[in-house]
């Protein structure tokens, strides 16, 4: 008797759970569709024939499909989009690698090593987060100018390396890695750098991947700074080039959308590749106290 009575609510509860979870999918899908309408419009516009763009402006599907916008975007000698693309890749990858290396070193120092003034130095760095971005932009431009780095890819790499976010995030993550590991290694006489390289860094992989995505995305999408420090079209990045592209095709929205989508794809690829580590990277990292 007892068993029967208890199994009744269980099936009941199961049924309710499937119902709730089905409802959840429905709600999510509905939200997502609304959420995706603007994207869908942009995507479909990039496949529309130029005359159709305005005639069918409120339509989410092209009346006539064309790849012409993409062909024009790639085939125009005045907007060397492939060149920009490779510049961007070169700059963003260099930046991310350098940034990960430098910030992880610093985070290791701030979280696991001791030296006089450690806390003060760390909090001075942290307080720079409060400084509005434009404050740095004006003097940084003069610094880069004086260094003779105009039209040089390092003008788009070096200033970004001063960002404190990565140090903060990796430090928090490293604080969560048990100290016993490196204590054991230290007793065995392993040097600090080896501990950093062989023990702590591999454990930080998820956080590194997450930081890589954040910093890649930031560097890739920044357009104001690259526009400031490049004069020549052939030294521009994709985002900066795209902003001149916007002027060129200011009235040709099909091409504009095609260009925007082309420039967004690489970040999407990075995101999909890194997604496995993504949640873990932030969940253990960053945010614990």
């Amino acid at each position: 008797m007892k068993q029967v009575s208890s199994s009744m609510p269980r099936t009941h509860r199961l049924r309710r759970q499937t119902l709730v979870s089905a409802l959840r999918y429905v709600v999510l899908a509905a939200v997502l569709i609304v959420f995706f309408l603007p994207m869908l419009w942009g995507l479909s516009t990039s496949f529309k024939v130029e005359e159709d763009v305005f005639l069918t402006i409120t339509s989410f599907f092209p009346r006539r499909w064309t790849f012409q916008n993409y062909i024009d975007v790639f085939g125009n000698p005045y907007t060397p989009i492939l060149r920009w693309f490779f510049n961007s890749v070169k700059i963003s990858v260099t930046y991310v690698l350098l940034y990960l290396f430098i910030t992880s070193l610093a985070a290791f120092g701030f979280s696991r090593l001791h030296f006089r003034g450690r806390e003060i130095v760390f909090w001075i760095c942290m307080s720079s987060m409060m400084v509005p971005g434009v404050i740095n932009m004006i003097p940084n431009y003069f610094i880069v100018y004086r260094l003779g780095l105009i039209d040089n890819m390092f003008s788009m790499v070096l200033p970004g390396l001063s960002g404190v976010f990565g140090v903060f995030m990796l430090r928090q993550f490293m604080l969560g890695v048990p100290k016993e590991y490196d204590d054991a290694a230290r007793i065995d006489g392993v040097g600090k750098f080896r501990i950093y390289l062989n023990i702590v860094l591999p454990l930080c992989l998820p956080a590194l991947v997450t930081l890589a995505l954040f910093s890649f995305q930031g560097n890739w999408n920044d357009y104001m700074w690259p526009l400031m420090v490049t004069n020549r079209p052939e030294t521009r990045t994709l985002a900066a080039g795209l902003s001149t592209f916007i002027e060129r095709y200011s009235h040709q929205y099909g091409k504009l959308m095609a260009g925007a989508i082309v420039s967004a794809l690489p970040v999407l690829v990075v995101f999909v590749l890194g997604q496995k580590y993504f949640i873990r990277g932030i969940s253990i990292g960053g945010i614990k106290g």
Partner: protein
């Protein structure tokens, strides 16, 4: 003394990272030697399709003067260009020699002591005022000294949808314009006469033109803003009446909303500059297009007048330091002048009259409405360093009146008051 000291300290601070990276590059001038090729850097903001033509002119020039002069073009949008221009003093190795700029920004740059006086350029080129559209010619002279040389004028003209209006029906006065707009406006099909954009845009150029046609002025002889005169009020009232009284325009047309409606076949007229000719493909295939172009009402004819801008060529004081470089710049400007027909194909009206009178130019039909307008155009006060700001305050007023926030008179009064207050403050 204290000033010097401070400048020194700040320079030292800026050089600090320089030392840290030990990659200091003081930036020597490659043109210092007396022989060999002169390299000129040419900055412009022709990022639209007009830039293609300028690039072509530069490429031809480089070919013709190979071994003597080489021109490198740096293109960027105008805002970035002016941002960078102020800072070029600190590193001459990337600073430009020749810069194209709008006459509206000229006085501000002169005020920063960046431009070179080029009083001897007309003589070098063998030209006089009579060879140029006089307004563009005079725009380059500030305080009796010539700082810039005219390239073109880019007036506003009236584009129309041939499916909605025939050539015979086109208005030549604003009264006719209203009539035809009322006639063509059809709320059932959603077709309007002319969608008046309420955000900062071409509307302020139209306003300035009507203001001039009414006999008013933007600034008086002492450079005080006077666009809130009775003529100004009337002009702005006329524009807001288009929306609220005649209802030939929908309300709340944003920036770019006029273009969208025009392209969707829902508005008969659209006003813009000549750079759109290539977007509409009107220069090469004008006849086949369903879009036509005509002068703005009241801009042509005997008493016709309109407001316009002009691109000017300037030389930078800090980089053009030797006679040799200066002569190279002059040679380049001369080349642009003699090849300004190419510039016309970019969708611009060259300021050089012999080009305008040439047969090839006359055959570019789509440019003729712009040419007629340009000959009668009035440019802004190029010698006033706050012209650009004053013009922007006026733009806010126009937008406020058309969006219905203030009456025309109040909007303009407010703008003039804010602008004059702003100048007083800015001088501190």
């Amino acid at each position: 003394m204290r000033k010097k000291c401070l400048s020194l300290c700040l320079s030292a601070a800026m050089l600090l990272p320089c030392i840290a990276f030990s990659a200091c590059n003081p930036g020597g001038d490659p043109n210092i030697s007396e022989t060999g090729e002169v390299t000129l850097r040419f900055w412009n903001g022709f990022t639209g399709m007009d830039g293609d033509s300028m690039d072509a002119i530069v490429a031809d020039f480089n070919e013709e003067y190979a071994g003597e002069i080489k021109v490198e073009t740096d293109k960027m949008d105008w805002d970035t260009l002016f941002t960078k221009l102020t800072t070029t003093k600190s590193n001459l190795s990337t600073a430009p020699h020749v810069v194209a700029m709008s006459n509206q920004r000229l006085a501000g740059i002169v005020d920063q002591d960046l431009l070179m006086a080029i009083d001897d350029l007309p003589e070098y080129l063998g030209v006089t005022q009579s060879d140029y559209i006089s307004s563009a010619w005079n725009a380059g002279v500030i305080g009796g000294t010539r700082y810039s040389f005219p390239l073109d004028i880019h007036p506003t003209a009236m584009f129309y949808n041939k499916d909605l209006i025939s050539e015979e029906e086109l208005p030549s006065t604003w009264e006719e314009f209203v009539e035809i707009c009322v006639e063509k406006t059809n709320t059932e099909t959603g077709v309007y006469g002319f969608a008046v954009p309420s955000m900062y845009s071409i509307t302020k150029d139209i306003f300035a033109s009507i203001l001039l046609q009414n006999g008013g002025a933007l600034f008086d002889a002492e450079n005080n803003a006077v666009y809130n005169s009775d003529q100004g009020d009337a002009a702005l009232e006329f524009l807001s009446d288009l929306v609220y009284t005649y209802k030939v325009s929908p309300e709340n047309v944003g920036a770019g909303g006029d273009y969208t409606l025009f392209m969707a076949g829902r508005s008969v007229f659209y006003f813009d500059g000549p750079w759109l000719l290539n977007t509409f493909d009107l220069i090469k295939n004008g006849d086949t297009s369903h879009i036509g172009v005509a002068p703005m009402p009241g801009a042509t004819g005997e008493n016709g007048i309109s407001f316009s801008g002009s691109h000017q060529l300037t030389l930078m004081k800090n980089t053009v330091t030797s006679e040799r470089v200066k002569e190279a710049c002059y040679t380049f400007i001369q080349y642009i002048q003699t090849h300004s027909l190419e510039w016309a194909y970019a969708g611009q009206v060259p300021a050089y009259l012999p080009t305008l009178e040439s047969e090839e130019y006359q055959q570019i039909e789509a440019l003729q409405p712009f040419t007629q307008t340009a000959l009668n155009a009035q440019l802004g006060q190029s010698d006033y360093k706050y012209f650009y700001e004053g013009y922007n305050y006026m733009g806010v007023a126009v937008s406020n009146a058309i969006s219905g926030k203030y009456s025309a008179a109040e909007a303009l009064d407010r703008a003039v008051r804010s602008f004059s207050n702003w100048i007083i403050d800015n001088e501190y």
